[in-house]
């Protein structure tokens, strides 16, 4: 792969990542959100693959494959299953911050991410690190989704969005943090999603829905 091609592919993947993050914020249908999330997983896998191709490292190829399996395959599948189980209310109810404001916030968060990431870029300027702000922005947007979305499932997506962002940063900066840690992280993420999915089921059993506003029993007021 030529350097220019590498850089363009890299930027394309990153662009898709950011775009999908914004779309997740934009759309309300949970099914669409899950699909977009799967797309983001694919973009992430592509990013890994591009890096692997650029470095010519077998280990990275394996990682890319793992990412593709987990983020574009297993996780979206788990999410979809949870959505199907719920059967009802496939739409995000009115979020705490409305969509227009959310998009503005996403813009602001992206600016913040760029500002914050300056030293990251400065440490080792390269096409890859130039794209680090995208990862940071995805993390922040993920956190924003967690804070503002009312469905259990959309919070789950928010968490995974953060995770995708972090993985992006990992790849763009150092091509991963070592296999054992990497696998450990994946395992944890997977388990968290499983746990949350089970909890969603229980929540539906206990509350009859997955609206997080119902979760107000434990409080001091």
């Amino acid at each position: 792969m030529t350097d220019t091609g590498y850089v363009q592919a890299l930027y394309l993947a990153c662009g898709v990542l950011l775009l999908t993050a914004v779309v997740i914020l934009w759309r309300r249908e949970l099914a669409v959100i899950i699909r977009v999330f799967a797309l983001q997983g694919a973009a992430l896998a592509a990013l890994a693959a591009i890096t692997a191709a650029h470095q010519g490292s077998a280990e990275l190829w394996a990682v890319a494959a793992g990412i593709a399996a987990l983020r574009a395959g297993v996780l979206p599948w788990l999410l979809r299953r949870a959505l199907v189980e719920s059967g009802q209310a496939a739409r995000e109810t009115q979020p705490l911050v409305n969509v227009a404001a959310s998009l503005l916030a996403a813009a602001a968060l992206t600016m913040l991410a760029y500002a914050v990431s300056q030293p990251l870029v400065a440490l080792a300027p390269s096409p890859a690190t130039q794209a680090v702000p995208v990862g940071v922005a995805v993390v922040l947007i993920g956190l924003f989704v967690l804070v503002t979305r009312r469905r259990a499932l959309s919070q789950l997506v928010g968490f995974l969005l953060m995770d995708n962002g972090i993985t992006t940063v990992a790849f763009l900066t150092t091509e991963g943090v070592g296999l054992i840690v990497e696998v450990g992280v994946w395992l944890d993420v997977l388990l968290v999603v499983l746990v949350l999915q089970i909890l969603t089921t229980r929540m539906r059993a206990a509350f009859g829905g997955t609206d997080l506003d119902d979760l107000r029993g434990l409080r001091d007021t």
Binding site: V116, P119, L120, A122, L123, A124, V136, V139, L143, L146, A152, Q155, G158, F159, M162, D163, G165, I166, V169, A170, T173, T174, V177, G178, I180, V181, G184, V185, L187, D188, L191, V192, V195, L196, I198, L199, R202, M203, A206, F207, L212, L215, G217, L218, D220
Partner: protein, 495 residues
Amino acid sequence: MTELLITAPIALPVVAAAVYAAVGWRRTTAWVSAGSAALVLAAAITLALDTMRGGPGEAVGGLLRVDALSAFMLIVIGAVGLLAAVATPDYLRGEMLTGAASMRTATRHSVLVQLFLAAMALAVLAANLGVLWVAIEATTVVTAFLVGQRRTRAAVEAAWKYVVICSAGIALALLGVILLNYAAAHTAGHPGLDLALLALSAADLDPDVTRMATALLLVGFGTKAGLVPLHAWLPDAHGQAPAPVSALMSGVLLSVAFYAILRVKLIADAALGTGFARALLVAMALASLLLAASLLLAQRDYKRMLAYSSIEHMGLVALGAAIGSRLALAAVLLHVLGHGLAKAVLFLGAGRMLQVTGTSSIAGVRGLAAHQPVLSGCVGFGVLALIGLPPFSLFASELGIARAGFASSLGWATAAAFLLVLIIAAALVGHTSRMLLGGPAVDGPGAATSPRPLPVSMGAALIGGLLGAAVLGVTAGPLAELLSHATSILTGSTP
């Protein structure tokens, strides 16, 4: 031999979990968990002796490493784990009596608790920051179902909040880990994420990246340590979890997360000077104390009260870490152990109170001392220990933190912190005395229950924990040397 000893604290609980998974929880296996916790404690003590004699040891190809600090944390895990394990059979029996648990629940409980112990042991033994992160996140996963064990609405709610907030917080820590890794990759030493190597070559780390990494790591691990701003899972989870799990979570898990902060701070201080981490920690400490005070003053639920008190103590520990002198850090470690013991006793006692009175509301419990004298005594003394009265070791450690604080440039922060501690103490005493003191209630929930004597092994756990905290407050004995070694690691000096 050392290799085996280092892996033992992780392997033993896993084996015990396997036993439970295979055989299930029954009369014969009820004490397996206690045995495993006791063995963990024994291994921890042996490791502590080893490290004091022969310095740090490694295992599993350098993934695990034990030094005085890890050994000390292992002792905390073992001791509190033992307390919780001893009280668990009686607690589970009590739950089964009220129908809140079945044999299956008990089995799952035991498996998960053992995995929980293993994860925590892994966290303190990890030589690699990434592994440490994985272990800490793993504790979230295993405890999620423990928190939700009762399957009531409240339990599910607590579990959800617990997992979501902790995962989100800890994800920030992961970002921090990655940034640190990035910074480390651009130093001469290429230390990767190995804690010891990172500390050694910290001076070469890029300050700007490290600063960002430190901030993310502190906030992220602070989530699991119950520090503001992402503290809010704590009262819900501790309030809903079964008593032995609350004891473990409050007594050890928070400290294990704080252990990670201590490790990070060591690196950050070397890279950035002490100012940055100190400022962050002081801010988090004071905010945590302020929050704990605000919510304790008019608290209505005694399990939540204990949970907020944990936030308070983590705040104090953070303050101690921020001060960062030898005395302060020794006091921090002693505080971690003392708080672990006292808080475990209190959560176990609170669980028993819940079983006896059927309510966790402070207003619902009156004159408990009249019909549950031993339990009330333990809870009462536990609270006294918690507010830092001698002879319990929290007195010595709080005094140490205060002394170190006034000797450092953080005098005003220390003063503010201890004023908040005073307010918290007032609130705790107020709530507790309302529950315990007074004549036997003529009517109301307290009178309706028939007096049930405290089961022997639970009583032993409660009294044992208090005695441990008290003995520790009178003299640290051989622990003093271990503390000194651990403090040296944290200050980067030789003992």
